[in-house]
């Protein structure tokens, strides 16, 4: 019994059907962690990208070094670092939030690169035209650069959303009850790992196929030459 749901071990099919609702509860946690982690990555990535493009090297160089450091170290170790070190400094977060934070930190290194690449991909002539038309620079950014950068940024961010979803099982090491953790607990109690773990694999396949076709749909339907502001 888990989450108050009994399993039925009379046959393989009955077992699979009876644990499906339990796995779906885990799946819901996986989705929540994905969304929260992605949200943190979006914000932190924006901060890093802004710092990296700062006019003074005193700010931009450390920001670049930090991004590189985050990108080249494992999520698992970063997660342990946050989980064990933060409480030493008086910051006690629930495991789920620590996990989402670790996902957010790891992927902020990637999203910051996506922002930077998206902004740099806007043709130089656009900046020059805006200047020739005497547009103030905040307005150039919001009305000329951003509408052209966003269609390039969104598909790349979508791919990282899928990657984050595939990294959520790592959170099981700090006791977050996401789908894989739930499946291994069922395995521990019934001595049948094959069915729960295979089901998790199958559910992941469905989830990533759905998510990546969603990303492709958005990619195809985004206006390639920039969002219209009207």
């Amino acid at each position: 019994m888990f989450f108050g749901i009994e399993w039925d071990t009379s046959s393989n099919l009955a077992f699979a059907l009876s644990i499906l609702p339990i796995l779906l509860i885990g799946l819901w946690v996986t989705i929540q962690a994905t969304v929260l982690g992605f949200f943190i990555a979006l914000i932190l990535g924006l901060v890093l990208a802004t710092l990296k493009s700062a006019p003074t090297r005193l700010i931009s160089w450390p920001a670049k070094a930090i991004t590189e450091f985050i990108r080249d170290t494992p999520l698992l170790v970063q997660l342990f670092f946050l989980y064990y070190v933060l409480p030493d400094y008086g910051i006690v977060l629930p495991a789920f939030l620590t996990g989402a934070l670790a996902l957010g930190v790891q992927y902020s290194a990637y999203t910051s690169e996506v922002y930077r690449a998206g902004l740099e991909a806007v043709a130089k002539g656009q900046h020059e035209a805006a200047r020739a038309l005497n547009l103030p620079s905040p307005r150039t950014f919001t009305h000329v650069i951003l509408p052209q950068a966003i269609p390039r940024i969104i598909p790349a961010l979508g791919n990282y959303l899928v990657s984050i979803m595939k990294d959520v099982p790592v959170l099981s090491v700090v006791t977050v009850l996401e789908m894989l953790n739930v499946a291994t607990i069922i395995g521990d109690r019934t001595f049948n790992y094959l069915i729960p773990l295979s089901m998790v694999g199958g559910l992941y396949l469905i989830l990533t196929l759905l998510a990546s076709s969603g990303v492709r749909y958005i990619d195809v339907h985004l206006p390639k030459r920039g969002l219209s502001l009207k």
Binding site: P74, V77, F80, F81, Y84, V168, L180, N192, L197, G201
Partner: protein, 223 residues
């Protein structure tokens, strides 16, 4: 305990991480070429096996694959009467190699398809066999295009090796957890470990850059 006393066991763990990274990256590269080329094969059987492999391993989580191979595969073996229990190091290398190979396969496929169409027409006009076209026309031009992405994947693989600590392989992450349990000195241990991973990643990136320059010579002259 002084922080320097952590170094010896951590370095031992780092050596395990290095070995696992090397073996799984080589396995991944072999699988990437086999299935990347296989996906373009006219043979429907080879093609569908390659596509299935790529989709399954790219579509699921590495940790799920690792646990499946470690906990579930022996049960499959039991059901069909073959002993499929492998030591953790074999499972770890296999899971990492299979995972990174599926990402690499898409890179190989993309690079081969990006070789200019005229090159294939010329090969056909000169009566090259498909095998000659692959070895002498596509691959020498495609491999330099793959290298930057392969560099990223190799670093990705190095980072992913930390997960094998969860199937009780005593790599760097495993030793870190062990020392932390003894000393409760989380900050020092994990800071050290993060920097060790970072150092290994820098070395790996330098190696891949060198390899990239080496195969860059295969590019056709004038490009």
């Amino acid at each position: 305990m002084e922080w320097t006393s952590y170094l010896a066991p951590l370095l031992e763990g780092a050596w395990v991480t290095v070995q696992i990274t090397i073996y799984s990256t080589i396995l991944g590269a072999i699988l990437a070429f086999a299935c990347g080329i296989g996906k373009l094969s006219p043979n429907i059987l080879i093609k569908s096996v390659s596509v299935a492999y790529i989709e399954i391993f790219r579509g699921t989580s590495l940790l799920v694959q690792l646990f499946w191979l470690y906990f579930a595969l022996p049960l499959v073996g039991q059901a069909i009467g073959i002993d499929l229990r492998f030591p953790p190091v074999v499972v770890g290398v296999a899971a990492l190699g299979l995972n990174i190979g599926s990402y690499g396969a898409e890179v190989v496929r993309g690079a081969i398809q990006s070789v200019a169409h005229e090159q294939y027409e010329a090969a056909k006009a000169l009566n090259f066999t498909p095998r000659q076209t692959l070895w002498r026309i596509s691959l020498p031009q495609a491999i330099p295009e793959m290298m930057p992405t392969f560099g990223n994947l190799a670093v990705q693989n190095l980072k992913d090796t930390a997960l094998v600590s969860l199937i009780s392989l005593s790599d760097l992450a495993f030793r870190a957890e062990h020392i932390r349990n003894y000393t409760q000195d989380s900050t020092t241990v994990y800071t050290l470990v993060l920097f060790m991973y970072f150092g290994m990643a820098l070395v790996l990136m330098a190696l891949m850059k060198w390899l990239e320059r080496f195969v860059g010579r295969w590019r056709a002259a004038g490009r």
